[in-house]
């Protein structure tokens, strides 16, 4: 999805007009992009599905260890992160409505809030990780006395690590495909697909955290 802005200039399309795509009209292109994004979101959910399944099995085998280890996690940080992501998900949804109304300023404002929330989320995450690293519960600085939690923590780092990576990608998508073109008010009621796809991806990131938070922090 190289930036459509470039394509627009090349085909000297009006500021709010959809880009010229040689083998589809704009309505089909919109439908195709939406379907393509939803399929991509399905593959992302399946990536995490494997880890949820592994989590279920490891929990089945090491129930006590999972309980104790989950108490070591910082519940307040997790809950705060959940709220942060929910709010960012809300602002991303509002940004789409703004885009549909052709309000490029609104897109910048609300996507901006979402990206800011993403940053807060990552900061809280790094605070949590460094906290654990001091206790030696971090993959690289593994030390023996927390070694019996290795199953839980192994999965914890795989899940939250991959989720954090997706947060970063989501923020990048919102900036590159949302905020930057909007500053050149590229979007209008007739064309806002990248904004909607960026929001969809961000909602997925929030969706996954909605499942991660209770499984890791509350139930363990």
């Amino acid at each position: 999805m190289s930036s459509n802005a470039a394509v627009a200039e090349h085909h000297h399309v009006g500021p709010g007009d959809p880009p010229h795509i040689h083998h589809m009209d704009s309505a089909t292109a919109y439908g195709a992009a939406k379907l393509g994004m939803w399929l991509f979101l399905a593959t992302e959910v399946l990536l995490f599905a494997v880890m949820f399944c592994s989590f279920a099995i490891m929990r089945f085998y090491h129930l006590a260890e999972f309980h104790d280890a989950s108490h070591h996690l910082d519940l307040k940080a997790g809950a705060f992160n959940t709220v942060v992501l929910l709010v960012s998900s809300y602002t991303a949804a509002v940004a789409v409505t703004k885009a549909q109304k052709g309000d490029n300023k609104g897109i910048i404002k609300f996507f901006g809030i979402s990206v800011a929330c993403g940053l807060i989320f990552l900061l809280v995450k790094t605070y949590e990780y460094t906290g654990k690293a001091h206790h030696g519960m971090f993959p690289v600085v593994w030390n023996e006395n927390f070694y019996e939690y290795k199953n839980f923590l192994g999965l914890y780092y795989c899940m939250t690590g991959l989720h954090a990576l997706h947060v970063i990608i989501g923020m990048a998508v919102m900036v590159i495909y949302g905020i930057l073109p909007a500053r050149k008010n590229r979007y209008s009621g007739r064309y806002y697909t990248p904004v909607e796809l960026g929001a969809l991806y961000w909602h997925l990131v929030d969706l996954i955290w909605i499942y991660l938070f209770p499984l890791l922090y509350l139930v363990g």
Partner: protein
């Protein structure tokens, strides 16, 4: 004209009022508080079921409203449900195995030769 469903008015997707999003956000925040409180009560096995139920409700709220799931056609809904069905099949298939595994015990002699 390609056969896909283009709408009569010029907007492509369905415009959702921002007020609805606010209501959904409040519901989600409320459910978060609920799930944290419910988790404090130790109900043994039911804890995880409760947590997953609330999480599923929150997830469906996000899909249904935030991601415009309400206005999507059957095809997209099929691909929304497929991952969850596959997750169920995966966990179901693996759980027909692990809990029912036979655990034979070796002969009484000290095993570590």
């Amino acid at each position: 004209m390609a056969h896909s469903h283009s709408h009569s008015h010029d907007e492509l997707g369905h415009v959702v009022p921002e007020s609805l999003f606010l209501k959904v956000l409040l519901a989600l925040l409320f459910l978060t508080v609920v799930t944290v409180l419910v988790a404090q009560v130790d109900m043994g096995k039911w804890n995880i079921v409760g947590a997953l139920l609330i999480a599923t409700v929150k997830a469906s709220l996000v899909i249904y409203f935030f991601m415009h799931g309400k206005y999507e056609n059957r095809i997209i809904w099929m691909y929304i449900l497929i991952p969850f069905i596959l997750l169920a099949i995966m966990i179901g298939g693996v759980f027909t195995d692990d809990p029912f595994r036979s655990k034979p015990t070796p002969v009484g002699v000290s095993q570590q030769s």
